[in-house]
């Protein structure tokens, strides 16, 4: 009996020690071989979110300088979406509430219907949701740049499709980006369980050493 308890305690200790997981770095990677002080050094170059320039709900330009050194969650949606967006936004609001006021965390919600979702429309939507424009940016801009950013920057789907309710097909992913603009996780924004994992992973990223 005593032995069993000791083994159990040891196992628990081992589990806690191993539990500190590190998030993977998603995307393609390249190897760069450099010569430093006459020695060959191999450096891995990870794919990063490309430079962008979009407008938020206050009419302010949001670009790579805004996200510099910050951890952020990105998603793609449109205001008149009757399907998965409301569920995504409800879950994202939970994440936002949990990290509200944290200067190291941002939220970037991109519209995939910029023709309809103007600055004023996004402002109305954000205010009604209860999102502060200092931390949660609702972005609009050039339609093709947004689609390009979605597909190649964040591995998300965003396409017009007249057969879909609302007129667009898009993934319900919440994408987690680290301080170095690398994608570290993609979570199903319509799932409460996945949203919980996202919040745990954000804590991990906040505590990650360079």
């Amino acid at each position: 009996m005593k032995y069993k308890i000791i083994i159990l305690v040891l196992l628990a200790g081992l589990l806690i020690a191993c539990g500190k997981k590190k998030l993977p770095i998603l995307g393609e990677r390249a190897v760069d071989v450099k010569t430093v002080n006459g020695q060959e050094v191999i450096d891995t170059i990870y794919q990063t979110v490309p430079d962008f320039s979009l407008t938020n709900q206050d009419g302010k330009i949001i670009d790579q300088n805004t996200i510099n050194g910050k951890i952020y969650v990105a998603d793609f949606f449109f205001v008149t979406c009757p399907t998965i967006c409301p569920r995504m936004k409800k879950n994202l609001l939970t994440v936002y509430e949990a990290f509200k006021g944290n200067p190291n965390i941002l939220f970037l919600s991109h519209t995939i219907d910029p023709e309809h979702d103007s600055v004023a429309v996004l402002k109305n939507f954000a205010e009604r949701l209860g999102a502060d424009s200092k931390q949660w940016h609702f972005l609009t801009g050039n339609r093709d740049s947004i689609y390009e950013l979605a597909t190649h920057g964040y591995y998300a789907t965003a396409l017009p499709d007249s057969t879909e309710p609302g007129g667009y097909v898009h993934s319900g992913g919440l994408i987690l980006i680290d301080k170095n603009r690398r994608v570290r996780g993609i979570y199903d924004g319509t799932s409460e369980k996945d949203t919980k994992t996202l919040m745990e992973d954000m804590e991990l990223l906040l505590n990650e050493k360079e």
Partner: protein, 128 residues
């Protein structure tokens, strides 16, 4: 004379009870399919329990707007809604899309579900 009136009375009672039973079973069928249609088409925004979400999507549960306009529910589902409305003291202004792909029968079932389940409106109130 007496015999025929008794027969007539029995026939009348039979028809009447058949009607009542029919009405009841129809009501439960409507509520069950209304629930399914509501889940599929409405609950993403208005939530499963009809409580609404933030100041974006108004509640359908115990809604003064619905109680004051019970006959408009099916028309709102069919044609959508634009502009500002006030529900239980809160203003909402997001447009609701028209659900043009639903049949009139399906629209009625959803409206029935919203009125009876969320607002306890008696079926008699729905008769236009």
């Amino acid at each position: 004379m007496k015999k025929s009136s008794i027969i007539l009375f029995i026939i009348f009672v039979l028809i009447f009870s058949a009607c009542i039973e029919n009405q009841f079973s129809n009501a439960s069928v409507n509520l069950a399919s209304g629930y399914q249609l509501y889940e599929r088409n409405c609950s993403n925004c208005h939530q499963k329990d009809g409580s609404g979400f933030a100041r974006l999507y108004p509640p359908l549960l115990n809604s003064d707007y619905i109680l004051n306009n019970p006959n408009m529910v099916d028309s709102i589902i069919k044609h959508g809604q634009k502009g500002s409305i006030k529900v239980n003291g809160v203003e909402y202004n997001l447009a609701m899309p028209a659900y043009t792909k639903l049949s009139q029968h399906e629209v009625n079932q959803i409206a029935y579900y919203v009125l009876i389940k969320f607002n306890k409106l008696d079926s008699l109130l729905m008769e236009k």
